[in-house]
Subunit: 198 residues, 4 copies
DNA sequence: CATGAATGAGTATTCATTCAT
DNA sequence: TATGAATGAATACTCATTCAT
């Protein structure tokens, strides 16, 4: 009995999604070079050949994971937050709370942050045009910081450097989430304190 | 006429040291899986075979680098600092200044911190008994933090968690040093502020 | 659609057997050190990588060949022969005829004899516990010789030494079979004459 | 103080001889492919580089060993023996006694026989024009055998095949001498019995 | 002359990718 | 479509040869 074409399509989508999701975690933990297709496919629970029905190559899969990471949505949220008629302190609190919450709950969010930061750090052979997204995050964060500095609620210093530091700590705790079995996460207070005066 | 045995020994020591030093940087930047022996030896400036005169295998070299990292010396310094008759604030300042200075000047110090932290995070197949050293760092840092909390100069919170956070930021800037061409380093003030109340 | 697990298993067994068989001949002719994996796999008619799906290493393959050699069956036959209610002369004739016939027909029998004798001679790093099998052959042959000496049909001398000499000649002609294109084999008469009085 | 040129030459000759002698044993035991220059030079007790002051290459050394083997002298003896006014039985006895005695005493004689036979068997890439020497041995042995067959003291059969068998057994016991720590050698009687009627 | 450290061509082994089923 | 056995290019490792001392 042939599956209906729609159901077929649906199954393909599900498998593709599963691969992307599981592979993102795997790559985040092991890096590109440290990931063997044989191990990866075993960890996903599919045959090695199956991967190649969905992705042209290991590199292609890696790229797809980047484009899959929904920077757009996150960036949008951050942009909106920056534009909201709130005090910088409130914005920083909201952002920090949002980040801590998602890190806490979603391992894949941690993986996304980690992969993203690694891409920025490592400047691999591959060029990720999309790393511009991260600098968007920086941009909007820096904007909030500037606002906060005017409002005297944020510490002094180059806004970009502070933003970089703030996101660095987020990256740090993404790594902890990914690699440490039972990790004590940073609190919202700790995170916002990076930017806020006491 | 044979080379004198002493001179021979000397040459061997020099070459071995050079390999360990250069390979540490290379591994820190590229990871174990991402490091090809052909590239590594080229980067060191020796033949591929030469590596195998000094180390049994790629894995062996990697291990040796860990045991080479001079935890002992650094740990000793930190222990002494913790025991000094100074205020916690002063100790934290001294430690932060020391770390920032060395990170600034020595790439190999950054590599050592990065490899060490990665070992702690990754819990690879390899077992690094010496990671206990890092927890020594934590231990002594936590001790200083406790002192500071009594003196009301340090923020509240679990001393171990704060120590972990402090060293996490040091790791973060080690990565930046290693991977970013011209990076804006964190200042001593930024680093000590993690622990100190404003 | 996946291959049926049974069919898969079957294919694996076939390939494994083919490798063992062909590699036995190759090793017997070229020795361990003289065998390159590239040449061996070409001679078997498989890719180099395929070998490593079945055997951990070149050395492992070599070992497996030893354990594969069906000493058991041959030893059993010899044991039965020794126990048969026949004159020693008849037994020696039967044994000699059997050996000459198989040497004549099966190159792999010659390879087995040759590898076995080489293992006994060479006492490599590898330890072949199974070389005890050969001494079983010696044992049973010596038993037949003793019987023959009582029956006055066999020449005088230490039975073990005579057995060793007898099997030495069998080894010699195994080598000739393996290495000489058109070799004049020894006759059954020549072989039995080693032990029998004229 | 410079050594006198004569003394210098002398030393060179001595070293060269030592290398040839020790290497012959080493090659006989391990084969060409199984012999590593590093191991060989260690076993000789010289530096690796020193070998290359005396021989162009591993292959060259191997060749030199062949040409060094004093076939000429041995062949000459055998030729003389064949021509002597003695019965074939006496000649075979003398030859067998000579061979057993030298095998017993000189490991290097065993090595020479073994290398020579291996060259004949293996037909390596290298061409040993000098293997003709072995066929000289065969030739003269066959001549004695023919004489003996006329005298009715030698068993019937193709003289060349019998010669081949006779030398095969000599090869066999050369191997035993080389590889077996304490081996029971064949007796002169056993050896001559291959050819002689009882 | 002698040495052994250094080299890179050659060999063993791994792993991304293909393909028969 | 899914599988895992098969492949060979890429990578780790060895060893004959060279060379500075």
């Amino acid at each position: 009995m042939p599956k209906s074409p729609e159901r077929c399509q649906e199954i393909r989508e599900e498998t593709r999604s599963k691969i992307l999701h599981d592979a993102m975690l795997y790559f985040a933990k092991n890096g590109f070079a440290g990931t063997k297709i044989s191990d990866l496919s075993k960890s996903i629970g599919i045959g090695q050949g199956t991967l190649y029905l969905y992705f042209k190559s290991k590199e292609d899969l890696f790229h797809e994971i980047y484009s899959m990471i929904d920077y757009g949505e996150e960036t949008q949220k951050l942009k909106l937050l920056a534009a909201l008629p709130l005090s910088a302190k409130q914005k920083i609190h909201k952002l920090s709370k949002f980040l801590i919450d998602r890190l806490e709950k979603e391992e894949s969010f941690a993986a996304m942050i980690a992969l993203n930061a690694q891409a920025t750090l490592e400047k691999n052979d591959f060029t990720y045009e999309d790393t511009s997204y991260q600098s968007d995050w920086y941009q909007y964060t820096a904007k909030i910081i500037e606002q906060g500095q005017k409002e005297k609620s944020v510490v002094t210093g180059s806004p970009m450097k502070l933003a970089d530091y703030y996101w660095g700590v987020v990256y740090l705790y993404s790594l902890k989430k990914l690699f440490t079995a039972r990790y004590e996460t940073i609190t919202v207070h700790d995170l916002e304190r990076i930017l806020l005066r006491d």
